[in-house]
Symmetry: C2
Subunit: 159 residues, 2 copies
DNA sequence: CTTGAAAGATGAACTGG
DNA sequence: CCAGTTCATCTTTCAAG
């Protein structure tokens, strides 16, 4: 964030080198400084300084291994739309669901439902259990869409 | 994959150490062998051999930096359900959409729609453009759900 | 599992806009 | 002063024993 003279704040724009680094690290989160230096034409130290700044600014929020869900015993993936049963109730579904195992992502959305969850479970019956838990825990109704196949996921997207 | 005596194949099950490694690398994709050795109680070399096997078996499919979409100029996220206009047409939507910029994920689903896409764009008008492109390119109708907020995403999930 | 050599990351001192 | 470079040192990785 950069504070302007008029007091407004803005995110410092990324230059071409930053974009190249972000792109490269999206494709390979373990790319070495030497590789990144080669890609950008900068020295390793300069690249390191850049990457550190991108991390500090939150542009790069972290690094993750991409794990095959089937290989770790979670072959069933589903999207679950949830809607509060009582709209007058406190709507703290994300807080309540944050630590429920099997829920990988939680988005609030503009549409029929209030929230959309991405869940992964070992079996259909485990999905039933999880849906029951979600309904009870967050006082919501659910509408699920089973994922049959993931064609691609986390594909790098450039602006 | 392990071939059993009866000829069936199964994925070799992960033991506790493998699970701990996968978990640790999901949380920090750049964890060093020394760190992983500390977590598991194994030597660095043993850990390295394990991680290599997990990578070779495809349990760990790769490593990626987690990038803040807003910080790279993609503040609008949406889920787009797509349904072929003509069910008798060849259904190769994933292939056709694979290289369209802005599409981060593509799943085939069991539900009203055939496929579900996750897209990221710089602006509402860019979303209109992208939806038009998707409709033309894949001969589909679309139904979009805008993401208002991402509460959490990619949370490590254990089996 | 241990070990030594190669590769990578880090920080200090230095250079130019 | 900021961003980048080079160089020396330390850490991590990797393959051989």
């Amino acid at each position: 964030m950069v504070v302007e003279h008029d007091g407004t704040e803005r995110r410092a724009a990324l230059d071409d080198v930053d974009r190249a680094l972000v792109q490269a690290l999206r494709e390979d989160g373990r790319a070495t400084l030497a590789t990144l230096a080669g890609v950008t034409g900068l020295s390793q130290s300069a690249v390191q300084a850049r990457v550190r700044k991108l991390e500090a600014r939150g542009v790069i929020a972290g690094y993750r291994a991409v794990v095959d869900p089937e290989a770790v015993g979670l072959p069933i993936t589903a999207f679950v739309e949830i809607t509060p049963l009582d709209q007058s109730q406190a709507d703290d579904a994300p807080d309540r669901l944050r630590d429920v195992p099997g829920i990988e992502a939680c988005y609030s959305v503009a549409g029929d439902a209030n929230y959309l969850l991405l869940v992964r479970v070992p079996s259909p019956s485990a999905l039933e259990d999880l849906l029951g838990l979600i309904r009870r825990e967050a006082s919501v109704s659910t509408r699920s869409t089973i994922v049959l196949r993931t064609y691609f996921d986390g594909r790098p997207v450039s602006p």
